[in-house]
Structures are given as structure tokens and as C-alpha cells.
Amino acid sequence: MILYERFVLDNGLRVLVHEDHSTPMAVVNILYDVGARDENPEQTGFAHLFEHLMFGGSIHIPDYDEPLQRAGGENNAYTTNDLTNYYCQLPAQNIETAFWLESDRMMGLAFSEKSLAVQKKVVCEEFREHYINKPYGDVWHIMRDLAYTQHPYRWMTIGKELSHVENAKMDDVKHFFFKHYRPVNAILVVAGNVKVDQIKRLAEKWFGPIPMGDKYHRHLPAEPRQLAARKKEVYADVPFDAFIKTWHMDARLEKGYYVMDLASEILGGGGSSRLYQSLVKEKQLFTGVDCHHFGSIDNGLMAIEGKLVKGVSMEAASQAVNEEIEKIQASMVSEIELQKVKNKTESVIAFEDMGVMSRANSLAMYELLGDAELMNTELDRYQEITGEDVQQYCREVFREDNSNTLFYFSK
């Protein structure tokens, strides 16, 4: 049970406080309700580039990192297709330093041309390092583009292409900031060796004076129901063929999300999972196989992917995956198998909740989803799932018409 208190400032900033007096540290986590899905299709990668610019100095403070490090703190941030999250950890006595820094960059950025020029280069190197200069690095660029026709999940957080990042202009940066980085679109979580009253006081003092801004209302194009299977073949300079297949699944809070989360564990979670046992160990078609989804807030993708053993044909690999899909659709999972993945879920949650930083992060995420209390109740949603549910949703999701297949051949 994670205890917390929640209050909202007059400017709309949602604040959650989780006290843990067993640690000498405090964590300040600020989540902004903006991700790559909110980007203009001609300016992809912008939310992530923007995250870098948040460290380039704010209206009253030339450098974010230096004063935080001087206070014994560390920080980082990440951007996903759904959201942008900033977090820092420092000795609890110095928590006001984090309030000072975070509130100043919510109030306004320095909008430095130098920072923009340098961070465009840094992000392009990040793009090259992870997506161009790595074998198979473009697989998910291609797959997202194949699986989504309308919804902005069709590009990756890093962006569709380097030129989108290279072309970013200061006006775009300013516009983005005042549209998305306002108190009314943000969630502040403070956790660790702190007191609720102290945090109320600090939040009012530092964040209270920031103008509320306009609530950002998201109107994203919904992805139409897929009615026919899509397939794509690619030839690349890689040593072995790879197989990737995805299916559209429910959004984050729908029942189908929880069911398919368990189904992904049954199929691909660990050495006793069905796909690993059948495709890697028994049939020896794949050198490794994964079944996963992205935890997306909007309707996401369920994926099965793996690299083929040399000499195995793409058709044989594809056929074997289909056989496992048909199996889980045709006969109900056993009680033991279902219990196994529920036990695993329970354990994952317990381990995640160990660190105060991870707890702060989860609270922010659940608050964004609409109810921080899900942090304590979400396991129940998994426990209620039955074998019939798994079968029914696997029949619904794993339809061939709902599928996208990428044959990624070695040139």
C-alpha cells in the first residue's frame, strides 16, 4: 500500500506527496502531459528535442544541472510517445533547490539559440547511435509506419527523420513551451523524506505564481479498425533475417490491455513461455523471440519478434508463430499457466515499488491516467482475469486481418 496525499494549486498544477522516512533522499518528479503523439507530422521528434532544451537554462537560472549537482542531486528525463517526465533525486535537506530549479523552468526558458543549435546536433547523434548505426535499428520506424495509418503513434519518439530535428526553429520551441509546459498540463510528485505540510508550502511558494496556461485538449486522429492484413518486406545490411509482427490492442485502461498484458507473458515472458519453448528450443527456428507491447495510453500494439536461425525460411518462421497463435485461440490456458503470469505480475509490482524514485514515477503516471489510486488497486484488475478472457481477447486481437507483418531480410 503506497500512501500519498494529493492537492491541486490554483493554477491547476496537480501535486502528490508520498512520505517515506526510511530514506535520507527526496525525489521531485514532474510529468508533462505531452509526448511524440502530440507532434506535427512534419516536425516529429520535437517533444524529445524539447526535453533536451529544458536543460539549456531557464528565465532566471543560466544552468539547471550545476546548482542541482552542488546540492548533491542527480537528475534525468525521458520522453515517450505519450508523455515527458523529468525527475531528480537529492538529499532531502536540499529539496528546496529542486523546487527553485523546476519552477523556474516551468515559468520560462532562456530560449537560448546556442542551446538549440547544440542540442539539435546532440539529438541527431542520439538518433544515429541508436537507430542508424545499429543493425536492425530502423525496424520499429518501419513497423510503426506500417501498423498505423492515422494515429501519431506511426512515428517513433526520436522522430521520423533527422531533417525534422535539424529543421527545428526557435519559434517552434517557444510555441511548444507555452502550449504544453504550463502548470495546468503538469503533475508534480514529491516523494521521500519529506512532510506533506512542507511540500504544500514549497509548492505554493515556487509554483503558485506561475500562470495557469490553457489546458491542452488532445484531439488525435483515431486509428481506424484494421480490416486487412498488411505485409512489408525489407532488405538490409544485417547478418540474419528478422521477423516482426504486430496487432492492434486496447488502450491502457481498457480490460483488453490487462488481458493482453498477461497474454504477452504467457507467450513470451521468460524461459517457460510458449514461444520460447516451441520456437527457440523445440523447433529451433528463432535464436530468440519476444512477445511484448508498449504500455501505450492510446490503442497500442502487441508484438512478436525474433531473429531467425540461419537457413530457416521466413515462411516457416511465420507459420510457426501462427500455429502458437492458433493454439492460444483454440484452447483455454491452464489454471497453472494463468496463475504463473499473475504471480509474476504481483512480483513485478512489488519490485518496482522498492525504490522511492520508481514510486514517484508510478504515482505521476497513474495520476496522468486519471487516478493515482490505481497504483494500489491495479493488481486487482489482473487478478480478476479468467482463462475465458484470455481466449476471447486473443481471438479478437490476433486476427490475421488485424495484423502487420514485417519480413526483414538480410541482404
Binding site: 550545476e66 519453448q277 512489488a350
Partner: protein
């Protein structure tokens, strides 16, 4: 309210850091168990550490393969049954092979631990290394290696270690596909019997152990035939390369280069080591370091550049590592040497040094947060023959080392002629 001036801070160097002590008990067969009981969640980490790293193998990749295949079949269970048992209880059983040691690590909920311990013992006593499992492993590892050989950073990490330690030193050697082909089941069985079943074992426990944890461990592991004497002594000579500079084209179409600049270095037992950690932080040890500030934050040549002291028990190395745009690799290398030269020429300003001291102490405070982190630090000390004095002395060094001492250290250790330099595209 003046938003331009920073709130008062308590200097991290004025904070009192404490390394919570472990509880130590000994099983009937002499195996020591180091335990930290802390944390709020009912979770548990148990790690069995064996002297079974690649330091002890006669042939390449035997130690790592033996370790990997501990989960691939016993006299009673097939690989699937072993995995299913741990996964049913929501537990994670991992194994890892390092240079000196190899480990089995169990993460589980406290309530399930008694169901899991006997199977861990089974892996240590009754593994059979089935031929067909070995064949799958060989095939899949070879393919994995071939994928990795396409990556400039992977190639660079292998080669720089070879230059510094020599290919016949455990820290400098690496694996070829031929090594996988040449693996024999009998070699694994022999290594297993010598270094696991009859090997030297230490146990580390952290989290919320049940009240009878010591009895449970003693019942299951206390009568196993682990070695009581110190174990096998093996020594290797470092044989560094004579040539210092290398440029390799691994991928003609590569858009980045992996840069490694490294020199042989002392280990933790040398009195300069703690001071060098401070100097390393200033150079490239954290986000605010000089290399990051200059090469990433000022010039945008790279997504990240880091320097670090390798974590080895015996010989060590001081390493600078980055992946930079292909057309700015030369410039990046030039800037690294420039930063070294500045550290040799000019004493660090007190303001910068204060920041680094505070950052290091604050970061250490964060690193000690939680039972798994505390046991990890103790494990590192125990395996390196260090005591808690090392912890307190290192902190004292961070708090007190002077700009003059750091400059002298830079002059001694940051001489470009001592560094190996490698660029892989």
C-alpha cells in the same frame, strides 16, 4: 522572492554517511552468509557467488557457458521445468559470469522463498549440461556474436581491452565463433564440478528475509560439499600492446565512430585510487564533467562521453569512451587530450571542486538507499578484500583532496603518451 539566487543548501560534504552493517552467519559447511534486513517491501534477493569466473577457465568461454547452462537441465528437471518452477512463483533466477566470479541470483517474494531454495541447490549439485541444449546455445550465441560484430562500440570495447591487458589475460581476451564451435560438454562438466559443486561459495542476502532464513539456508546448502580452503590460485601477466594508436573501419557505411582512449591503471588498494576517482569525476565521470560540458554541451559532437576507472579486482584501466559523429571523431579525440592537458596545467578551481565533492557525496547517499544497494556495496568490498574503512576513507578523500593534489595526480596519470587510442568506424 528572488528567483535568481539559489536557496540555502546543506553541503553534502557536511552530511554524515553510514554504511549499515551486515549480519554474518556461517553455514555448517563453512559458507559465509552476509545479510542486510531492510526495506519496506516483502521482497528478497539472494546471491550465490562462486570463484568461477573466466579467470579460472583453461579455454575461452568455458566459464561463461557453464554459468549460462546451469538452468538448462538437471538430473530431475529439463530446462523448461526449471524455468517454469521459478516463473510460477514470480521469481527471477539469473546467472552471470564475470572475470573472477560467477553468480546465481534469485529475486523473489519473501513468501515463496522456501519453495525456491531446493531448486537452486539442485542447479548447483545436479546440472547435467545436455548435449542438445549445448548445441542450441552454440548456434544462438554464434548468431548473437555475428550481430554484435556489426557494432562499432562492441568491437571497440573488445580491442581496447586487448591492447591494455593482452589477449591471453582474462581481462583482454574475447570470443570468436570458433570458440563456440570448439566447446565440449565434458569441459563444462569438469568446470562445473570443480568450481560450483566443489567450489568456493559465498552467499549474500538482502531485503526482508523470513525469520528462519539462516535455518532454511543451512538446511538446503549447509551440507553441500563446497571447498573450505582458499581455492585455486591463478596469476596472469599483463601484456600490453606496443603500438598505441589504432584506426579500424568495421563498417564502410558507418555514420559514427566508437572512440576509446585508455591507459593501464592501479586498483582500489593503491592509495591514489580514491583521489583518482575525484579527478575522474571532474574529467568525465558525470553529466557536469569537463568532457560532457565541452564535447556534448558545447560542441554537440556526441550524445554522451564518459570516463571511468574499470572495476577490476586485479589490474585496472582508466578509460574514456564515446560514440561521435564520423566527421568529428578526430576533433573529439583532440578535445579529450586538451581537457587532460588543462587538468595537468591548471589547478581545479575551488568552486568546481566543491561542486564535484557535493555531487559525489550526494550520489553516494542515493546509492546506499535500499537493501539491494547496500548489499551490492558490501559484496564489492568483500570480493575486493576491502573493509568498511575503505568506505569511510574514500569519503574522507572526497571531502579533503586539494586542487594541488589533483593537479599532481593529473600530471602523473594523464600523460597522453601513456594512453592507448582507438577509433572504430
Amino acid at each position: 522572492m528572488n528567483r535568481k539566487s539559489a536557496p540555502e543548501i546543506l553541503d553534502a560534504v557536511d552530511m554524515q554517511l553510514r554504511l549499515p552493517p551486515y549480519q554474518l552467519y556461517t553455514l555448517d559447511n563453512g559458507v559465509p552468509v552476509y545479510s542486510i534486513d531492510a526495506g519496506a517491501q516483502d521482497v528478497l534477493l539472494i546471491e550465490w557467488v562462486f570463484e568461477a569466473g573466466n579467470w579460472y577457465e583453461e579455454k575461452n568461454i568455458v566459464a561463461a557457458t557453464t554459468n549460462f547452462m546451469l538452468k538448462n537441465g538437471t538430473r530431475q528437471k529439463k530446462a523448461f521445468g526449471i524455468n517454469e518452477h521459478f516463473e510460477f512463483y514470480g521469481a527471477y533466477l539469473n546467472r552471470s559470469c564475470y572475470n573472477e566470479t560467477a553468480t546465481i541470483t534469485l529475486h523473489c517474494l519473501k513468501k515463496h522463498v522456501s519453495e525456491l531454495l531446493p531448486v537452486v541447490a539442485e542447479l548447483i549439485m545436479e546440472s547435467i549440461f545436455p548435449e542438445e541444449e549445448l548445441a542450441i546455445y552454440q548456434q544462438n550465441q554464434k548468431q548473437r556474436l555475428e550481430v554484435n560484430l556489426k557494432k562499432c562500440d562492441f568491437i571497440a570495447n573488445r580491442l581496447i581491452d586487448e591492447y591494455i591487458y593482452g589477449f591471453h589475460h582474462p581481462y583482454g581476451k574475447y570470443t570468436s565463433t570458433l570458440d563456440y564451435d570448439q566447446l565440449q560438454r565434458e569441459e563444462l562438466v569438469a568446470f562445473y564440478e570443480q568450481f560450483y559443486t566443489r567450489g568456493k561459495c559465498l552467499v549474500f542476502v538482502a531485503g526482508k528475509p523470513p525469520a528462519d532464513m539462516d535455518q532454511q539456508l543451512n538446511r538446503v546448502f549447509g551440507n553441500l560439499p563446497f571447498r573450505k580452503d582458499p581455492g585455486v590460485e591463478k596469476t596472469y601477466l599483463v601484456n600490453p600492446a606496443t603500438e598505441k594508436k589504432y584506426q579500424i573501419i568495421n563498417d564502410e557505411a558507418g555514420v559514427q565512430g566508437a572512440i576509446r582512449i585508455g591507459r593501464p591503471f592501479i586498483n582500489r588498494h593503491h592509495p591514489d585510487f580514491s583521489k583518482a576517482q575525484v579527478l575522474n569525476n571532474i574529467l568525465g565521470g558525470f553529466f557536469g564533467s569537463r568532457l560532457m560540458s565541452n564535447i556534448r554541451e558545447d560542441k554537440g559532437y556526441t550524445y554522451g562521453i564518459h570516463s571511468y576507472l574499470q572495476n577490476h579486482v586485479h589490474d585496472s584501466a582508466w578509460m574514456i569512451s564515446t560514440e561521435a559523429g564520423r566527421d568529428v571523431c578526430e576533433a573529439t579525440i583532440g578535445e579529450v587530450y586538451k581537457e587532460m592537458a588543462i587538468l595537468c596545467r591548471e589547478p581545479v578551481e575551488p568552486d568546481e571542486l566543491d561542486l564535484v565533492r557535493n555531487y559525489m557525496i550526494g550520489s553516494l547517499l542515493g546509492d546506499l538507499d535500499g537493501p539491494f544497494q547496500i548489499i551490492a556495496r558490501w559484496k564489492s568490498y568483500i570480493l575486493n578484500n576491502l573493509t568498511e574503512d575503505y568506505f569511510y576513507q574514500s569519503i574522507e578523500t572526497v571531502k579533503s583532496v586539494s586542487p594541488e593534489e589533483l593537479q599532481a595526480l593529473a600530471q602523473q596519470y594523464l600523460n597522453p603518451d601513456d594512453f592507448y587510442e582507438l577509433l572504430v568506424i
